[in-house]
């Protein structure tokens, strides 16, 4: 099995490449990367002239809902959505039913992913059994079973003592702990960002402090432990500043932000449309702009979708009763490319770092996030000029709770290649 990709602009930040290159793939791996590779007879060739070729995008925060909530999403539908959105790998959170807190669930997810065979799926296991915040999971066994990181995600580890032990224990295994920073005693029944808008529209608020006190707590613990700590879906300017200062003090930490926190703000909730109900909540415009600065100056390493599918009925409710979460696998690249790259706020190289090489580094996927001979041939190929419109009819996800529906712009995924296989192609042919 061979594939030759010719004339594309290869953007590979780790290899410090940004120029037209030919790429030869053989047996699922990169074989050769060179200025010009001659076509050989019988080798399928893809002309990528005018297209940007990047190491495969990795979404390090996805909810696939399987096992347990297949009415919202499944490993199969989530895989289709991922490759449609240009992702060659996704890391899925542990809040399934049952919770991914033991090796059998991790192995089930990996086995299902292989059966579907579209996208690399890397399970993130829970930090605590049942995500209850009491007892650590069997981390070593889970890592052996294929878990790449640990997170209680929405059930932020509230006991400082437990997160301390998780960080310490995980350092032995060299895997990251991913924290969803939210002090539940502060956020409580909160629905939206607490401030003028929440007061004005009579919705219970979630203070920025609910996030920031956990960010601060974890950074203080991490200062001594020096394990691998990743803070997911950072939403406030205060969090960005805390992380920026910790990095200056050489505390090991990484962070991601979501497209919705980067491109939307709290004013949208005035419509009471539950599609804008998400945790952490959409914040103020000042927070949004600081998150973008965090992407620019390297404080924030990754963009993650926090793809959280819900059924139409789940979201078709009174705002207060609708569940939190938006989907993003199929809109993340397009909206980020159009609003942040085309507008000049981020370079293409930085985009590829944020969506590919940095998530690979944070998750410890040592042979991904770059285009190098011998590495698995995962590529995302996009047309930076082609116009897109985010429309429900195009979604492969079972869900439609996307806050970017109707958005238009430039930048469309042309081909998604996983281990040398064309798993998505806009025109459905090689």
């Amino acid at each position: 099995m061979k594939l030759l990709i010719k004339n594309g602009r290869l953007v590979d930040p780790v290899g410090a490449v940004d120029r037209t290159m030919d790429i030869l793939i053989e047996n699922g791996k990169f074989k050769e990367i060179a200025r010009s590779i001659k076509k050989s007879s019988g080798c399928p060739t893809l002309n990528a002239q005018g297209l940007i070729v990047a190491p495969g995008f990795i979404d390090m925060h996805t909810h696939l809902r399987e096992p347990g909530q297949e009415n919202k999403e499944s490993i199969e539908s989530g895989s289709r959505a991922a490759v449609h959105g240009g992702f060659t790998a996704i890391a899925c959170m542990a809040n399934t039913e049952p919770v991914n807190d033991n090796r059998s669930v991790t192995e089930y997810i990996i086995a299902r992913a292989k059966q579907v065979g579209l996208v690399n799926i890397f399970p993130i296991a829970a930090v605590s059994k049942g995500q209850l915040g009491e007892n650590l999971v069997e981390m070593a066994d889970l890592v052996e079973g294929g878990a790449v990181a640990f997170s209680d995600d929405g059930h932020c580890v509230m006991k400082a003592d437990l997160i301390r032990k998780a960080l310490e224990y995980a350092s032995m295994l060299d895997v990251p702990i991913i924290e969803h920073p939210e002090d539940h005693s502060i956020s409580a029944e909160g629905q939206v960002n607490e401030g003028f808008i929440s007061y004005r529209y009579g919705l219970r608020g979630i203070l920025k402090a609910a996030e920031e006190v956990i960010v601060a707590r974890d950074l203080i613990l991490q200062e001594r432990i020096q394990s691998r700590l990743h803070l997911t879906h950072i939403s406030t300017a205060g969090s960005v500043e805390l992380i920026r200062n910790a990095r200056r003090a050489k505390t090991p930490v990484s962070a991601d932000a979501t497209p919705h926190h980067l491109l939307l703000n709290e004013t949208l909730i005035q419509s009471y449309n539950p599609v804008y109900k998400v945790k952490p909540p959409l914040r103020t415009e000042a927070d949004r702009l600081e998150l973008i600065r965090g992407l620019q100056d390297g404080t924030i390493d990754c963009i993650a979708s926090d793809h959280a599918p819900h059924t139409r009925d789940d979201k078709d409710k009174e705002f207060e009763y609708a569940p939190f979460g938006v989907i993003g696998l199929e809109s993340t690249f397009a909206v980020i490319h159009d609003r942040l790259v085309r507008s000049g706020l981020l370079s293409v190289t930085r985009l590829v770092e944020l969506l590919s090489s940095n998530p690979a580094r944070v998750l410890g996927l040592k042979d991904r996030g770059r285009v190098k001979p011998g590495f698995p041939a995962d590529l995302t190929i996009f047309d930076p000029k082609r116009r897109f419109k985010i429309e429900e009819k195009d979604f492969r996800s079972k869900a439609n709770n996307c806050p970017f529906l109707g958005w238009e712009g430039q930048g469309a995924i042309e081909h998604t290649i996983v281990a040398g296989n064309m798993v998505f192609s806009r025109k459905n042919r090689v």
Binding site: Y272, E318, F319
Partner: protein, 314 residues
């Protein structure tokens, strides 16, 4: 009765009303006050129209007020009682409303504990929606009946100082009144412990006080709010005893307001919690007039939304 200039299809909140809309509602309400004093308290303005009272929270005064208002306009009214409703059987709000709408009502009056529920209804319902209180958000007919009461007592709605005391954070009555008096250009003082009166309310054009004496000083209207224990308000201050000591209205504090000042309360009142009992029964108290005016205001709103402009009061 004059031609309608009221172009709203729903009454979701004071937010969506212009000053002229507010004036139209109050003028119409004044015209309806007289009907309630007649021996036969009925006009045919809403004859053949169906009004559904869809109440998902306990309510006596607002529900009965809408019911009486609709009946005095000759509308047919049904009460949808949530305690015996299909909601207990797991039906969604949307399905409940679609089911009711299949019976072709003209107006749905909704009270719901979730803010924004009336707005949600407008995304799929065909009826006119009246917000009879949504969560902590708005209670527009209450603010309108309060305004009518102020106008009756003080003969003006302009250049006033309105002091609102209590649990502003969880009060839809406060929000609707703040928005209304901000539109009218009145001075608004919000008084309560900082845990129940966040500073951000100043961005709504109000002054925030934690000292009731300073806040009430020079006020034309003092509106007391109920301590909403059912909304967990009690966790926001140490005890009812301390709350009463700091924020209850009594003669001593009320004397700091203007001589002509009136005392209001949306009810139900908790005597000797937020309001000294003798104050509730004093001549300055307009509490029962508020209830009476509630009917006229709700008649006005129902009429302006769906009334037949060719029907006259006589």
């Amino acid at each position: 009765m004059k031609e309608k200039t009221f172009l709203q299809n729903h009454l979701l909140g004071i937010e969506h009303l212009s000053v002229s809309d507010i004036g139209t509602i109050l003028e119409t309400a004044e015209a309806f006050i007289e009907i309630s004093t007649r021996e036969v308290k009925k006009v045919p303005a809403l004859k053949g129209k169906t009004v559904v009272n869809l109440f998902f929270e306990n309510s006596t005064r607002t529900r009965s007020s809408f019911e009486i208002a609709a009946k005095r306009l000759s509308a047919d009214l049904i009460n949808f009682n949530s305690s015996v409703s299909s909601l207990k059987k797991g039906e969604t709000l949307k399905d409940t409303v679609l089911t009711l709408e299949a019976m072709n009502p003209h107006i749905i009056v909704i009270r719901h504990s979730a803010s924004g529920s009336p707005h949600y209804l407008t995304t799929f319902a065909r009826s006119s929606i009246i917000n009879a209180g949504d969560g902590f958000h708005e209670h527009p007919t209450q603010a309108l009946l309060d305004a009518l009461t102020i106008q009756q007592r003080l003969k003006t709605l302009r250049k006033l100082k309105i002091a609102i005391v209590g649990d502003i954070l969880h009060s839809r009555v406060a929000r609707s009144n703040i928005i209304l008096h901000q539109k009218l250009g009145n001075e608004i003082a919000l008084i309560g412990p900082p845990s129940l009166v966040p500073r951000e309310f100043e961005k709504m054009g109000a002054q925030v006080y934690s000292d009731i004496r300073r806040g009430v000083k020079g006020a034309d209207v003092v509106m007391m709010l109920r301590v909403q224990e059912e909304r967990g308000a009690k966790n926001y201050f140490p005890s009812i005893r301390e709350y009463r000591n700091l924020f209850a209205i009594n003669r001593d504090i009320f004397s700091l307001a203007k001589k002509t000042a009136i005392l209001m309360h949306p009810g139900p009142i908790n005597r000797d919690v937020e309001i000294e009992t003798s104050m509730a029964d004093s001549p300055q108290s307009a509490i029962l007039e508020q209830v009476t005016n509630g009917i006229a205001v709700r008649m006005a709103v129902l009429y302006l939304l769906k009334g037949d402009i060719h029907e006259t009061l006589n």
